[in-house]
Symmetry: C2
Subunit: 134 residues, 2 copies
């Protein structure tokens, strides 16, 4: 399951995608329109900026905007930035790989099963972009 945080992130990005291209949008506006707790959204957008998904501008007239075209930001990258791994097991994760200490991957049947699951899931999530969230 996606965390609430990731769901908020995707909703906020949908809003920004709708405004793209255009001037920066303030956190407060997004929070109000999308009904997301303001201070929580602050943290979320900050993380998205650090993940190069958003750019920000400080001071009057500042705010957040997408770092690039909506169709060039995959939903997969957003989930990874906020929730981490998409895979169901650390030992099959492409971006957050972690060896399991109790099995040998070359023979592990769980590994094989969840590699197939990962491939199917990620294939969809990489194709979906924030343009699909408008």
């Amino acid at each position: 399951m996606l965390s609430n945080k990731a769901k908020y992130a995707l909703r906020a990005l949908g809003y920004l995608a709708d405004k793209y291209p255009g001037g920066p949008v303030q956190i407060a506006e997004i929070a109000e329109q999308k009904k997301i707790p303001l201070k929580f959204l602050e943290n979320i957008l900050l993380e998205l900026r650090k993940a190069d998904i958003l750019v920000s501008k400080k001071g009057k007239g500042g705010g957040y905007a997408l770092e690039r075209e909506p169709k060039k930001i995959s939903v997969a990258s957003v989930i990874r930035a906020i929730d981490g791994p998409i895979s169901m097991l650390p030992c099959v994760s492409l971006y957050f790989y972690k060896k399991c200490d109790d099995c040998d991957e070359t023979h592990c049947s769980l590994n094989k099963v969840f590699t197939d699951v990962r491939d199917a899931t990620i294939k969809v999530l990489e194709k979906k972009t924030v343009r699909d969230l408008i």
Copy 2:
């Protein structure tokens, strides 16, 4: 991510699939062979029995066995029994559906995106069975 509990469940089922068909296998044997904390495994196997994935026999010579052929027990059903929903959003879940209170599903873009993800993921997980876990 799968919980540890689900991972243990799948490992235990792999062990039982390997022994299938055959007499009941004791919890203690599975725990030792698969290096799963005994008391924790007790709870897990109990849940799997309640989900009609295992059958049990009490007393001397008792233990657990698969309720049916390994190839007729999908990995999807095991995950649902232990971790619950496979979908990434409650509002697209087939077995654990829950309406989101902040969006209208017929127009919600998140809903559409994660319905596609669900379909791709479940298609694989329904095909995989505990026979694949041997």
